[in-house]
């Protein structure tokens, strides 16, 4: 296979960036999109050009490191896949592919295609955990959780924090990320004691960095874990409830 790449090159956070065109030959259809960039970088090194900086780690779709806007879509055209799991067979021979970094005020560009996503960490720090001393795992049947609940919590917990929802959102909003991180705790018994503090803290932190939701559903379509926007509705409801909730009575059943 042969592909023509248009890649965003930017020397540093404050430098001016622009697209550079590269032509890559001998691309195997079985390569992942990241392996295409490995081949490109080998080629650039041989030509004495600075290789393209891009984020990657596990290359098996679970770490959330890879972050490329491929032909105007976060993680490319394939549904439910991260860039590392996108294979070149999904493109035609001789395809023209434009690759750009995630763009949002709170995702500043580090270099080329690598962006700083630590704003997502600030959201987690503000409440994406349960405050219990950790130790050995408790007895599995101590807290009974219906199967539907466990499955639904797992659907939210599948979030790998890649930021594709922010990248895909026309408003640069992080609602899907935050909703997933709020919900996977808020729908389980272990998350109940801090349910309302959590949602308020995480939403307020989110809004310091990101935009607001206008229900375009682009996040859901871009998410490599196909997380549902139903979680956003749950987060909205909990945020509204938190305004009125008498938390002194929150241990009542």
């Amino acid at each position: 296979m042969h592909v023509n790449l248009r890649v965003w090159r930017q020397a540093g956070p404050k430098a001016d960036g622009g697209f550079e065109e590269y032509s890559v030959d001998d691309v195997s259809p079985d390569m992942s999109f990241l392996e295409l960039f490995d081949v490109l970088n080998e080629q650039l090194l041989a030509d004495g050009v600075e290789p393209v900086a891009f984020d990657h780690d596990c290359r098996e779709g679970i770490c959330g490191s890879c972050s490329m806007m491929i032909n105007g879509q976060a993680h490319g055209p394939e549904k439910g896949t991260a860039t590392c799991q996108l294979h070149m067979r999904k493109f035609e021979d001789g395809a023209n592919i434009t690759v750009e970094p995630w763009r949002a005020r709170s995702f500043p560009i580090v270099k080329d295609l690598a962006v700083n996503r630590s704003a997502l960490d600030r959201i987690i720090e503000s409440g994406g955990f349960i405050t219990v001393p950790t130790g050995s795992a408790s007895e599995a049947n101590l807290t009974l959780i219906p199967k539907d609940v466990a499955d639904w919590a797992m659907d939210a917990a599948a979030c790998i924090g890649c930021g594709a929802c922010v990248a895909a959102c026309p408003n640069g909003a992080a609602q899907l990320f935050t909703a997933a991180k709020v919900s996977h705790l808020n729908i389980l018994p272990q998350g109940q004691p801090e349910r309302y503090e959590r949602v308020v803290a995480m939403v307020d932190t989110m809004e310091e960095y990101f935009g607001s939701c206008t229900l375009h559903r682009e996040c859901e379509a871009a998410c490599p874990k196909e997380i549902s926007i139903d979680f956003i509705a749950m987060m909205n409801r909990d945020y509204v409830k938190a305004q009125f909730k008498n938390r002194r009575l929150s241990a009542q059943r």
């Binding site: 949002a104 709170s106 026309p170 375009h216 871009a222 926007i229």
Partner: protein, 262 residues
């Protein structure tokens, strides 16, 4: 949560790689935090609060356009029915309240709903533009966002401008040379007999239909009304409501233009 300070204090001082990175990139910089406000203020300041206000005021406005359309469809009965209905609006709750007082209560509520709806939309738009100051240079390929969701701002502005014209045409009569106070049927027919005025009404009502198509679905999400047992019905509701309002309202200028109502 108290443990948060213990576990992240050192990180916030710049101890982890991400924060060292942030020093180099100069951002992410959070928006200024405003703390310690009473809960209604805190709620209004949050984007989720504003979306909730948009949904609630949106429901009020949906109620208004529905009742307004039902009232207007009386043109298909007779001129007398319309004029009687217009007179009845002024006399609701008489004699408990003086004449037109209840109508004014409704109007003030409606003006308040419009004001909050538009203010929220404006402030959220500002927030969203600020969240992505540098646009995608290579273009975007939208896969889920539909025409209605992406044009809410523009259909909203069209409806707002139309509303001002509509009031000047058929409520105040300032832009209507044939206006006679208290004769709504005759005023309506006089206006719609001119094809260009009828066209304004038709275009504006199509914009309203598109706005409702997205808004009447999205409001459920904003209010957190999400349940697998009725999620599918939300889409049907929004589509049906949008179609009903558009067809109902557009039928009136078309009926006048074609001579079915005169």
């Amino acid at each position: 949560m108290t443990i948060q300070e213990v576990s992240t204090a050192s990180q916030k001082a710049g101890a982890d790689d991400a924060d060292r990175l942030a020093k180099d990139t100069g951002a992410p910089v959070p928006q200024k935090k405003q703390r310690g406000a009473p809960w209604p203020v805190h709620f209004w300041r949050s984007a989720i609060g504003k979306k909730w206000v948009m949904a609630v005021t949106g429901i009020m406005l949906l109620g208004f356009v529905l009742v307004h359309m039902i009232g207007n469809l009386k043109v298909f009965l007779s001129a007398k029915e319309v004029d009687q209905y217009g007179e009845w609006l002024r006399t609701i709750l008489e004699p408990a309240l003086p004449r037109t007082v209840f109508l004014w209560i409704l109007r003030v509520g409606l003006i308040g709903a419009f004001f909050l709806h538009i203010t929220s939309a404006y402030q959220l738009t500002r927030m969203n533009h600020a969240a992505r100051p540098v646009k995608y240079k290579g273009g975007r390929n939208y896969v889920a966002a539909d025409f209605a969701s992406r044009t809410m701002r523009w259909t909203g502005i069209i409806i707002g401008l139309f509303l001002i014209y509509h009031l000047a045409d058929l409520t105040w009569g300032t832009l209507n040379p044939h206006f006679v106070r208290g004769a709504p049927y005759e005023n309506m027919v006089q206006s719609f007999n001119k094809w260009y005025i009828a066209a304004i009404y038709i275009v504006a009502n199509i914009a309203l239909g598109i706005h409702i198509f997205h808004g009447a679905w999205a409001m459920f999400q904003s209010l957190g009304l999400n349940n697998p047992s009725y999620n599918r019905a939300r889409r049907y509701f929004a589509t049906g409501f949008a179609a009903l309002i558009t067809i109902g309202n557009v039928s009136i200028p078309i009926a006048v233009l074609t001579g079915a109502v005169s």
